[in-house]
């Protein structure tokens, strides 16, 4: 059982290198936690200054619509706008309210306009607005931005860290000469690749479960479907990352060159994996997402976590990810020919 020997060795190495172990498990959790803080924060409350001439009723209504109100004159308001201490200033001009926005922060702009619009609507009820009754097919009114791209992030971080660590450890095997030593034994090339896949596979299953559990139960990420499906997808994603990482390590001469693959191979995948809406992108550019493993992983994770879907909706993603892993494994076996012909 030569494969088993490799598996045992890889797992032993993992537990010796506590820092890398920590990086693979804690770093994704930490970044997800930060993202959660940033995107799940309270809604922004704009600060609006009003002139004395503005009717009190208007100001009170604004306050009810989530704005902080400050009374001040035009000169002070101007100064404070410049220092970004207030977001907007409302004064009366010829009996009509006029607003000046600070304007440099889109979030603040949106918040100001929202509360002003709401207020004006409430103050002029004569135009009877139609009230739209909204039903959510998936998600809910409470769904935060983080819930939407959380699944993509889980997939991405698992992919990223496994890619890097697997790539670097395979590279080290080469630079430290142990690969040559292995190739001087009767060990077959495929046995090395399979040993790596199983050794890392065991470890990344553990890693992916912990990260998914953390995101869903501690960060309270939206989770409609089955946890087992999430595990299946994260496992397949890490297999793809592992096989791709070890494959590409054949084309790097040192750790730094391995890191250079990140902006080339890993980062573009974020943009194409559905974190951003691709509808507005040119068709030819959009078709790039077809060759990116993360696209399928992220799609499946969203189906499971947001839409609560099961096997039928993720089957294709599962097959494609399996296909990617197998393809990279075969290419890996071929790439090892560079070091031993047999």
């Amino acid at each position: 059982m030569r494969v088993r020997a490799i598996v045992i060795r890889i797992i032993r190495q993992f537990f010796r290198d506590k820092r890398t172990l920590g990086l693979m498990i804690l770093a994704p959790m930490f970044v997800l936690f930060l993202m959660n803080l940033v995107f799940n924060g309270e809604e922004y409350k704009p600060t609006i200054a009003v002139d004395q001439a503005v009717p009190v009723a208007l100001a009170e209504k604004l306050q009810k619509n989530d704005a902080h109100i400050k009374w001040m004159g035009k000169q002070t308001a101007k100064a404070q706008l410049n220092k970004q201490q207030i977001d907007a200033f409302i004064e009366m001009k010829e009996g009509m309210p006029q607003m000046t926005l600070e304007g440099s922060d889109p979030t603040a702009n949106k918040a100001v306009l929202m509360s002003v619009q709401k207020t004006l609507q409430q103050l002029t009820p004569q135009t009877k607005t139609m009230k739209l009754d909204t039903i959510y097919l998936h998600g809910s009114e409470e769904m935060a931005l983080f819930d939407n791209f959380g699944p993509v992030l889980i997939g991405f971080f698992i992919f990223f860290f496994v890619f890097l660590i697997a790539g670097v450890s395979f590279l080290r095997e080469r630079t430290r000469g142990t690969l040559e030593r292995l190739l001087a034994t009767p060990l077959k090339r495929w046995e090395i690749v399979v040993g790596y896949v199983i050794g890392f596979g065991i470890f990344t299953t553990f890693q992916a479960s912990l990260i998914s559990w953390f995101a869903i139960h501690v960060l309270d990420m939206m989770m409609e479907g089955s946890f087992l499906y999430v595990l299946l997808i994260t496992f397949l994603l890490s297999m793809t990352a592992l096989t791709l990482g070890t494959l590409l390590s054949a084309f790097a001469n040192n750790e730094l060159q391995m890191i250079q693959f990140i902006p080339l191979i890993v980062v573009p995948q974020i943009f194409f994996s559905g974190l951003f809406n691709l509808e507005t992108m040119a068709q030819w550019l959009r078709s790039f997402s077809v060759i990116m493993p993360l696209t399928y992983g992220a799609d499946a994770l969203r189906e499971i976590m947001i839409r609560g879907n099961g096997w039928n909706e993720i089957a294709i993603d599962v097959y494609v990810l399996l296909g990617f892993s197998l393809l990279f494994m075969i290419l890996n076996v071929i790439a090892l020919k560079k070091y031993r012909k047999l």
Partner: protein, 242 residues
Amino acid sequence: MAAKPCICVEHVSRVFGKKKVLDDIALAVERGEIFGMLGPSGAGKTTLVKLIAGIDQATEGTIHVFDVKMPHLQAMKRIGFMAQSDALYEELTALENLQFFSAIYGLRGKRQKERIEEVAELVHLTEHLKKTVHHYSGGMKRRLSLAASLLHEPEVLILDEPTVGIDPVLRQSIWAELERIRQQGTTIVVTTHVMDEAEKCQRLAMIRDGRLIAVGSPNELKEKTHSETIEQAFLYFGGAHQ
């Protein structure tokens, strides 16, 4: 001892891109001898031993080890190879390294334990087996690396510069170990660029710029060139006498 030569290298050339690293090398290594390959760095010694070990393939010519054309996986089971780099897993202990490499050669259970004890004894590392290799000195790593290549009791042991960067005392002890291993019947091929080490070999091949310039026992080579030392002999064959 009418046995066939253990290693037979016939008209071997190896070309990397446009550079001809080995040019028409032919030599035979007999069973149970220490066969030295002497030459300056860059002469092509490492390339030649890699070809014999089956890691690399010759561009032209053939290499037979135990009558089997290399590279051949079954023959590689009977060869031990120690490269210039120590090729050890630094984060693991010496014992774990030996366990790993012996498992790769299919040694298991009691047999594995016995062999690890034997090779550790041979290189005087028995008390240090539990230490991580990271904490080993350079000489200890070299010895552990040698031990790892002896685990499966290879019939042919190929060592690429086994004593480079090692202090004289340790070098002496490694050569003493090699002599002991040879007496157990193992054929040893060793590369070196240290002339006095060459004296300890039964036979020598002198290699320069990818060409074999002379083969013979140290004494033969010295007599043929009327030299006092191997170094002078090397200079003679290298064309410096003209």
